[in-house]
């Protein structure tokens, strides 16, 4: 029997959270991918660049989460467990570079939930959107994350 998830959380906004980007975290993230660009890893190259410092790779905002707005919180809201999750789709829109030392505010909401039947059975698609803003209240990035729940 397929499990049921709680569709009532569609539209839910999670508590905003702040992230201060650590220099070492950018480097750790780039190295984990195996992307050794000096614009991510070399402080001297960063200083001499148009940005005045190293910047983060395009997918770095995926590391912005906190307990009240993360996958654990989502699972609790949906009423399912982590073993059923797959990552369906992901999108980043970038408006400003992400730099070490800067503090960003992240606002996440569940934009949509819908169900479909695929070749591996019934699945629910949970669309989360996160808006990342900086100290000037400018939008730095928009992140769209579609989680698939195997029902």
């Amino acid at each position: 029997m397929p499990i049921q998830i709680n569709h009532g959380v569609k539209g839910k906004e999670f508590p905003p959270f702040a992230v201060t980007v650590e220099r070492g975290k950018i480097k750790e993230f780039a190295r984990a991918i195996g992307d050794l660009s000096p614009f991510y890893l070399d402080d001297a190259v960063g200083r001499a660049s148009q940005w005045g410092d190293i910047i983060a790779p395009p997918t770095f905002p995926v590391s912005f989460h906190d307990e009240a707005a993360g996958t654990g919180a989502l699972l609790k809201e949906l009423g399912t467990d982590i073993s059923r999750l797959l990552h369906g789709e992901q999108e980043f829109e970038h408006f400003k570079p992400i730099r070490p030392g800067d503090t960003y505010l992240c606002r996440t909401r569940i934009a949509d939930i819908y169900e479909k039947s695929g070749k591996s059975g019934p699945m629910a698609f949970v669309v989360r959107e996160m808006v990342v803003t900086d100290g000037d209240n400018d939008i730095v990035a928009r992140v769209r994350h579609i989680t698939v729940v195997r029902l």
């Binding site: 975290k25 750790e28 993230f29 190295r31 984990a32 991918i33 195996g34 992307d35 050794l36 660009s37 000096p38 614009f39 991510y40 148009q50 940005w51 910047i55 790779p57 395009p58 997918t59 995926v62 590391s63 989460h65 996958t71 982590i82 073993s83 059923r84 999750l85 797959l86 990552h87 369906g88 789709e89 992901q90 999108e91 980043f92 829109e93 970038h94 408006f95 570079p97 769209r144 195997r150």
Partner: protein, 150 residues
């Protein structure tokens, strides 16, 4: 790695992105990626958990493959140039897989057409495993400098 600037005028519609091959994927990379990203889902670390979840064995974080795809774009067109990157995870990446990132230019819009300071190109992107199976498909929009402005 490439750091030279690719100018808007130099990129033609249909031009293919240089291939970027990543891997073979090892467990240690998945563990490093878990630490770096904060995604500690045991399905990427623990074969017993992955089997019990019906997935056969551990598999790579989709976001690791997306990181490879992002690198393929920035290696070619420059770090800091990606305005939009969206992907669908089309297949699982397993331990031992070699992932090749590919792409091509779909469209070009000059700064004037794009209504912004720089010209942009749209790319079709995909990544495939050593069997030629697509594991990621996607699109990107990338801003490029113009020779006229520089």
């Amino acid at each position: 790695m490439k750091y030279a600037t690719v100018y808007f005028e130099d990129v033609e519609i249909g031009a293919e992105m240089p291939l970027l091959a990543k891997g073979p994927i090892r467990q240690i990379q998945l563990t490093r990626y878990a630490g770096a990203s904060g995604d500690f889902n045991p399905i990427h670390q623990d074969p017993t958990f992955a089997k019990a979840a019906g997935m056969g064995d551990v598999f790579a974080h989709g976001m690791l493959s997306m990181g490879f795809v992002a690198q393929s774009v920035t290696d070619w067109l420059g770090v800091g140039s990606v305005q939009k990157l969206g992907v669908r995870f089309a297949g699982l990446v397993r331990l031992g897989d070699v992932i090749t990132c590919r792409g091509k230019i779909l469209a070009k819009r000059s700064a004037k057409e794009a209504g912004r300071g720089q010209g942009v190109v749209d790319l079709e992107l995909w990544a495939e495993n050593q069997k030629g199976e697509k594991v990621v498909t996607g699109r990107a929009t990338v801003a490029l400098l113009s020779r006229e402005e520089s």
